[in-house]
Assembly symmetry: none
Homo-oligomer: 203 residues x 4
DNA sequence: GGCTAAGCGAGACGGTACGTCTGGTCTTGAT
DNA sequence: ATCAAGACCAGACGTACCGTCTCGCTTAGCC
């Protein structure tokens, strides 16, 4: 959404340039308010007021509250979506590094709130769910799978396993624990998880 | 909440007898409407109208929309919460049986809707999250752990594994897939998941 | 409308008692605001705020801003609508008395504002126009005609004239002058008008 | 406003020539829309869209919706404003002719709508009222008075009457009846009115 | 024949108010 | 005494227009 100006920026001034100021203000305001009052008490009216923007301007660019929050979310986490994982040659270590980073995000109150708002919205809105899956979940999954394939090539992982399942074995438990708040999520937990999963998947 | 009338009904004309009729009507109406319009468009007003009940009567017994839906949920799934797992002596088979049942529920549209409403609400409301965890998640987890312990005793499972983690390795992936709708959830998937998890956890 | 609770409060609770408080507050607020900002800048939102009432409560009882203002209007002028004219035996004198009173109202800023708002609304809304005609214009006209008939009986007015036309000859000019603000409206004007009209209508 | 191009058109291509096309389109559009939806639902946005003109172009030339409608109005009725009345030597007949013409206009739906819009606006906007009075009401009144004076000279009208009052006695009743829609306005009514008014004003 | 200033269409902008909907509380009458 | 019915205050919803403000694009006259 924001990157389509890049190839044009040389010659043609973006016809949407004016909206940029307003759009930024809107997403900023939404992010702040999300942190302050949470998703369910977040109102379009408050966003508009905080951003010093007419409500119509919000509706001009986003169809719903969820869509605005999606923007907040992608701005927070979208950058690294689909980034390739580190490859030091040690599969377990690399997976632990990544999982620890994920956990750190979950433990950051700002991301926590936004992600929960997000997860809730995914339940209500199938369309929205699709967008999230396409733009965040899948790219990240693919990146992990790429690293797993590299691990297979290095003889650190059995070649007869379903990589999608492995990805879910790594993400699912963390997600489950965070989602239902059944127990705290720590680096040590990440390490144990990776070790346990890989334990049975050696060649 | 519903059971405290039982011991009184023998002797005295229950002062709450009338409310019983109303309460049932409310939960019924909520369940119907949940299936018809989904959680986010479910309103207290509609529940009251459908149940032919004053709004006040709802608020008298439940503090919020989420609480009513919780009642619906426990009525649907609460019965078997914490039920011990079957123990045929074959750990893998028993886990597959249970996981398949869980998957069937996820695939049933009625349960699907309610559970999603639920999951969404858990994100917003920490209090509510606690109730769900205590009354559903933990009992179910404990039941699975019990079966795992039995499996350890039978020499089918290593004794040095964190059972909580195993439970999460079984539930997490299914939950993750369902939650984000990344892929369909089948019996075959349940089987493969159990096999993969147990593969590395033999003694 | 406002006084019917007093004598009843002992025994019979008015079914509309609750709304009474709100309705009074609404009409009061509307009247105040009408005087402060005029009709075109009068908003439902402001009335609701001033009356400390939900907007819905206004819309529950009146379909539009015009209808509320109509209530204000009838409360201001409705009392004497259709009241019989004085009958001292001197037709000219009695008509002058009434016309002077009308003129005084037109010259009172509060009534002036409200009446103008009103007149404007009558142009837009045919339904509304009918209500005004039925409840105010016609009763007043009938009262004047009654006095004219009494004048005919007393031999002060020709019997072959169209009384409706005479009423219009008395009201029309005053109204026209007020409406288009072509000239100030004075008691002297009222007297001259009555004299001129009656001049040709002697038996 | 429209005539200031005349003296320039000989020598220089009018810098405002382009605006002419736009201005015409605006007034045309306003007139059409006024007939279609009435004044209160007439919007600047709709006029601009219909005239295929930017909103700014409207605001460049007229300060408000009322001003645009005023233009429509003067285009419809302004031509004959202040035109001298016919003088056949028969005062009553000439007044009836004029009054019948006025009545025909009131009975024409297009003029009716516009004139009502107009009358309403006059109530809200004092500035506007002044413009209407100066440019329409007064010239027309003067024309009638001129004919009345001619009637006085011909011995058909008393010389001791206030001519302004006579004008109001002729216009007021018609206006009053039209304004409040109390009764239909017919040629027969015009005749009766003129006869009744003149009845008492013979020398 | 190119240059520049203005007028222009289009429509985004910050706002206000609309009329509706729902939340959660309070009141009333019937049963 | 409890309930259904629904009025109450409150305030967010998404829409319609307001009047102002860019934006590029004609389109004249003027060099």
């Amino acid at each position: 959404m924001a990157d389509n100006t890049d190839e044009q920026s040389r010659r043609a001034p973006d016809p949407r340039r004016r909206s940029q100021r307003a759009q930024n203000a809107i997403v900023d305001a939404a992010e702040e308010l999300l942190g302050e009052v949470g998703y369910s008490r977040l109102t379009m009216e408050a966003i508009a007021a905080r951003a010093r923007v007419g409500k119509q301007t919000i509706y001009r660019w986003w169809p719903s509250k969820a869509a605005v929050v999606f923007e907040v979310f992608t701005r927070l986490t979208g950058a690294e979506a689909g980034q390739p994982l580190p490859d030091t040659g040690d599969l377990a270590a690399d997976l632990k590094t990544v999982l620890r980073a994920t956990i750190d995000e979950f433990n950051d109150p700002a991301t926590d709130r936004t992600t929960r708002a997000f997860t809730a919205e995914v339940q209500h809105d199938e369309e929205f769910a699709r967008a999230v899956t396409e733009q965040l979940v899948r790219p990240n999954g693919e990146a992990v799978k790429e690293r797993l394939r590299s691990g297979q090539a290095a003889g650190q992982l059995a070649t007869d396993v379903d990589l999608d399942l492995v990805v879910e074995l790594l993400n699912g438990p963390v997600n489950h624990r965070w989602l239902l708040r059944t127990a705290p999520i720590t680096h040590e937990y990440a390490d144990r998880l990776v070790d346990t999963v890989l334990r049975g998947l050696r060649p």
